[in-house]
């Protein structure tokens, strides 16, 4: 797949931006400034960056609660994301939703969703709308490996095939659902095998290599767009941090985490860009600096933003 240099540098910027943003969010959480639950995307940046990098503007994205990175890739400003994490009025959802419920339909981002698996039928409904309206759009529905064990997944996959919906199912297989390995919770070791059961064509992809993700995603999205019905990608990845902040991670070995950290998706992309002479080392360092500055500025914006007012509690319960 041909990716022009400008696009490459933009994707590299997005990955670094997510990494720096998440690191900063972790610090803010440790300082007690972010409350509740915080699920970081560190380690998985190549998945959503490559996948969403391959979509057209009309393509919808919907995901689970590990959604900060996806929000960045969909074009939501880091200002509004960090403000949301801090519960501020300037946040993506005016502080109402917090970490797990980012959304901005003007950028075709249909949200993070906190109830595992619950958004898969919703994705099918969005795709049904596009099919009905004869639109040239694909719904990209992301979810974790753990989510493939709940009934919603199976119902939604089945009917997406029966109705030939324009849906790209994307399982981010980071090999754990909380503290439970795929092996321990899933009857088949490859999640893509579950798609076989519903006659949905599928493919397993290396999620630490953004080029592989981008290529597979572009092909899959265009295939779905052509009207052939749903497709499933199983993208292999790994979360470098705990399930959420405060997870003691007794269920996995340090050595395993180290091994995966050696395959850092940002490092891999960095080497690729240098090796292919797409960018110089100085250029990439410049991008990294820019991402760092942008996160700093966004944090300042978020920290100085006002809190929501009491009236907000009672707004948006119904529309007139």
């Amino acid at each position: 797949m041909n990716i022009n240099p400008e696009k490459h540098l933009d994707m590299y910027y997005q990955m670094v931006l997510i990494r720096r943003m998440e690191e900063r969010a972790a610090e803010l959480y440790q300082q007690g400034k972010i409350g509740g639950f915080l699920h970081l995307y560190i380690g998985q940046e190549a998945v959503s960056t490559g996948l969403i990098g391959a979509r057209l503007p009309q393509d919808r994205v919907i995901t689970a609660y590990r959604d900060h990175g996806v929000a960045v890739n969909c074009g939501l400003p880091v200002n509004a994301i960090l403000a949301e994490l801090l519960g501020k009025a300037t946040g993506v959802s005016k502080g109402r939703g917090g970490s797990m419920h980012m959304a901005d339909t003007s950028r075709n981002f249909w949200g993070g969703h906190a109830i595992v698996g619950s958004h898969l039928p919703l994705a099918a409904g969005l795709a049904l709308g596009d099919q009905y309206a004869n639109k040239d759009a694909v719904t990209i529905c992301m979810f974790g490996d753990g989510a493939t064990n709940i009934g919603y997944f199976h119902e939604a996959l089945n009917l997406s095939k029966v109705w030939k919906l324009p849906l790209l199912w994307v399982c981010e297989n980071n090999q754990y659902g909380m503290g439970t390995t795929v092996e321990h919770a899933s009857a088949v070791s490859e999640i893509r095998q579950k798609a076989e059961g519903y006659g949905i064509p599928n493919e397993r992809v290396d999620g630490m290599d953004i080029i592989a993700v981008y290529d597979a995603s572009s092909k899959a999205i265009e295939r779905v767009r052509s009207g052939e019905g749903p497709y499933l990608l199983e993208i292999m990845t790994y979360r470098f941090r705990g399930h959420s902040m405060g997870d003691p991670e007794r269920y996995r070995e340090q050595a395993e985490i180290k091994k995966w950290q050696e395959q850092d998706p940002i490092g891999i992309y960095h080497s690729y860009l240098l090796g292919k002479k797409i960018a110089s080392s100085d250029e990439l360092t410049g991008i990294e600096k820019r991402a760092e500055e942008d996160v700093k500025a966004a944090e300042a914006f978020a920290q100085t933003s006002p809190e929501p007012t009491p009236e907000e509690l009672f707004m948006d319960i119904y529309v007139d």
């Binding site: 409350g35 639950f37 109402r96």
Partner: protein, 327 residues
């Protein structure tokens, strides 16, 4: 008696029941090696092994459905739902299967199971990690619904729930897991299901509450004692079947009733308590029955100020009691 936190008391209750009856087992997401999201089952996997403390795939309808089947078989499952908010996928199993099983079989089939679920707000969990759901289940005969407010009751009620031949929903106030501490009797200690408890005696106003709100009400009552307002606090403990006698006895004594619950006001469980008092103690009342509850909004928002406006606290409860006392 050793002092311990609410969650430690719950764990001790489960530990003792696992030791007491080989048919008891725990099933839920990450209850094993990880010891549960809130660590309620910490150490039990090591002690009793994977057959008695079972990690399940992410599948709530099946965690509870399998629990029902195993209970029909004669086992005594304790099903853990990580947050009450995730119980909805299993709603059908609870309402259509567990609750009706005894009735549909003319008493032949019984479902001796416990469903444990942490509920409630105040921990910054936001929209889908803060709900209070008891009213859905107290509407359903065939189920028992229990909400402990202190460690001793938590242990004693949980042990009774495990031994009860009927399905029991056991909602735990997660905000209080480590905040609420108290003395817990060692060993065999059972608190009967279906009995309320007068947590504090008083003469001016009766306050009826449960779970986290009971804890806050006790703090409010303490504060009001300094203002010469004598508050009687009744811990409902079992919401279904409810202890009408204890409620009526208290109201007849004080003549004023306030019902406090964290859930949305409309259709919330406290409405039932208000109705019982209005129907059966009308002539004993010196003031209209009052309710203090969460606002009618769809969920507890994330942002701290929004969450604080949603949630009740000892000050809000004290204000409502003061107001009623002066009626």
């Amino acid at each position: 008696m050793p002092e311990m936190t609410l969650i430690d008391a719950i764990r001790q209750g489960m530990d003792e029941e696992l030791a007491h009856d080989p048919n008891v087992f725990i099933v839920g997401e990450d209850v094993g090696v990880r010891g549960g999201v809130f660590r309620a089952t910490r150490g039990l996997f090591d002690k009793y092994g994977p057959q008695r403390v079972m990690d399940s795939p992410l599948a709530e309808a099946s965690i509870i459905g399998v629990g029902i089947g195993a209970a029909l078989y004669g086992m005594r499952p304790i099903c853990e739902i990580q947050f009450a908010d995730f119980i909805h996928p299993a709603f059908n199993q609870i309402i259509n299967e567990a609750a009706k099983m005894c009735y549909r079989s003319n008493g032949d089939w019984t479902v001796p199971m416990v469903i444990r679920a942490p509920y409630g707000g105040g921990i910054g969990g936001g929209l889908y990690h803060s709900q209070s759901l008891e009213a859905f289940f107290t509407h359903t005969p065939g189920l028992k619904v229990v909400v402990p407010s202190n460690p001793a009751d938590a242990k004693g009620l949980l042990k009774s729930a495990v031994r009860d031949p009927n399905p029991v929903l056991f909602f735990e106030p997660k905000k209080g897991y480590r905040l609420i501490k108290g003395e817990v009797p060692e060993g065999e200690y059972l608190v009967p299901i279906g009995k309320a408890d007068v947590s504090r005696e008083g003469t001016d106003v009766s306050v009826f509450a449960y779970g986290m709100m009971l804890y806050y009400t006790l703090q409010a009552a303490q504060k009001l004692a300094a203002e010469d307002i004598s508050v009687e606090v009744v811990d409902l403990r079992t919401l279904y079947p409810v202890d009408r006698e204890s409620i009526l006895t208290s109201v007849r004594k004080t003549g004023k009733a306030l019902v406090v619950y964290e859930d949305n006001l409309t259709g919330g469980y406290g409405a039932e308590i208000a109705a019982i008092i209005a129907e059966q103690a009308f002539t004993d009342l010196d003031a209209p029955v009052r309710r203090l509850a969460g606002p009618d909004v769809p969920a507890v928002p994330f942002s701290h100020p929004l969450q604080d406006w949603f949630m009740l606290n000892p000050d809000k409860i004290a204000a409502a009691i003061r107001d009623l006392a002066s009626y």
